[in-house]
Symmetry: C2
Subunit: 314 residues, 2 copies
């Protein structure tokens, strides 16, 4: 009998917890606000409670286990490392051990972006691909790199930090990692908002935003509605993302990039300039050989599904 599993996607803003069936369908989900927690004990307690609720509400007696995708995750030790950018909990979190002690079922951990790549490969658009890169745009920018039919891990399982490739060495945008000019400072939700504000300050296009505090969702919705300033912000975002992707291509020669995360909801406002800048900046040997696609999993479920799949692969 193939069992149900719990997949957890830990992001800087939200923690998504889903009950997943073997076909990759999320039967039900719960959410926590990651940023509300500075105590790992309370955080893990609330995750365990959400899992219990999911099982009770769906009348599930047994599951294969819990798979977690998280930033700065060490799948060999089951810990989220210390000083993780975008998390308020700054000490190392032995999340597998903590959750296992409460629930008494197997728990596995993987880098969130690696889990996303695995989800895309097992359930999504990369099913038949041997070489692809997933890029998750969100609070940060994560990536999973699949080459020659395998996810690459690297020394200490720390490969795939494309968000911290320096795309603009002359930038003055300070990243949460302490350096300047990282891709994350342009292609994350925060980066897109900053680009919008910088473009607004230039005064070339009128700033029509009327809310109290600008979010990336606002910029995306304005771009979709055709607002020139928001479109310009997405155009600049696309330029730096294209540089990062062209560089990634010359590293691993993928068949496709899969984009996921909130900022991709802007759709063609992002994809159209992205495809143009990518073509302009791509090394000629890869010309017309690399697709840029959106994650083909519902509602950006790749990380959650990949995390759930982990438990079956263990």
């Amino acid at each position: 009998m193939i069992e149900l599993a719990i997949g957890i996607d830990i992001g800087g803003t939200n923690t998504d917890i889903g009950l997943v069936n073997p076909d990759g369908k999320v039967l039900q989900r719960k959410g926590l606000k990651t940023q509300e927690y500075d105590d790992p004990k309370l955080y893990v307690r609330d995750i365990a409670e959400a899992i219990r609720d999911l099982l009770l509400e769906n009348d599930v007696k047994t599951i294969a286990g819990v798979g977690i995708g998280a930033p700065n995750a060490h799948f060999d030790t089951g810990c989220i490392g210390a000083d993780t950018a975008n998390l308020r909990m700054k000490k190392e979190i032995p999340i597998c051990e903590m959750l296992q002690r409460i629930l008494n079922i197997p728990v596995t951990l993987s880098n969130d972006a690696d889990a996303a790549a695995l989800g895309e490969h097992i359930y999504g658009g990369a099913k038949l691909m041997q070489h692809f890169v997933t890029i998750t745009l969100g609070t940060g920018v994560g990536s999973g790199i699949f080459v020659d039919g395998r996810l690459i891990h690297g020394h200490g399982c720390m490969a795939g930090e494309l968000g911290h490739a320096i795309v603009n060495p002359l930038s003055d945008r300070l990243c949460s990692c302490g350096r300047k000019g990282c891709l994350e400072m342009y292609a994350s939700a925060r980066g897109i908002c900053q680009t919008y504000r910088e473009e607004a300050a230039k005064g070339e296009f009128p700033d029509t935003f009327k809310g109290a505090e600008l979010t990336c969702k606002d910029v995306g919705e304005m771009a979709v509605a055709g607002d020139p300033l928001a479109l310009k912000a997405y155009d600049t975002t696309a330029y730096w993302l294209a540089i990062g992707m062209a560089n990634a291509a010359s590293f691993c020669s993928p068949e496709a990039f899969f984009l996921m995360g909130g900022p991709t909801r802007a759709g063609e406002a992002l994809l159209q300039p992205l495809r143009r800048y990518f073509a302009e900046n791509l090394l000629y040997i890869y010309k017309d050989k690399i697709s840029i696609l959106l994650s083909q999993l519902q509602a950006n479920d790749a990380a959650l599904l990949g995390a759930a799949a982990l438990i079956h692969l263990k």
Copy 2:
């Protein structure tokens, strides 16, 4: 019985042909000037002649075969692709088939930088490493990427083009690939000469070079001798190379980088600023975990030895 093999390292400037024993010792070598050839037939004929001479002069009756490392090589088809940067022969060269027809022994082909990585792994400083990157500085800048115990190939065997990662998007240095700001435009022999001339034009340090035409070897020798302008040129070279390496690290989390090729003969004039800039620009999670080493094979033989090893792996 383990047999001798021929290893060939095809560079933009020189073609090195060596008779290699199973311990990775180059027993004898011959050289051709790659740039003198625009006709593949003549080029392959002269390679075959050099091989015959090597076998005759060493009284060798049988060899395992010939392994070739070349730029823009397709190991699945045995061809050097069309329009290879740094080669005057611009049509596709079915070099394996051509050479095999003349010599009647097995011939295999691999990307030159991949061959170098393999050589470093089998005979050199990366013997015990599961994760490393080799960077060959020469007419161009090549790289071989070894992750999780394997060389990565990517779609169409075109992974590992680190020399064409854009490290400075705002640069006006036009690369042979048609784009601007590639690592190759800073860390290749040509790039280093250009940096020297640009620094000379600033007039900050006196230009003491007296020869007719500046070569990278000149800049290297002047740097080793302590010439301030040459040291400044190597400092700038180190900066851009460090950005490229820091970005590569966030991609694949290596244990070490191995540098090889002519410009590395400047030794500490390159390595000292390189280590400093690399540490400054490296994502904190890799801090103190990645070594920068010179190729530990004699006289930069990595590509030649790796190419020879190919024939045994086939």
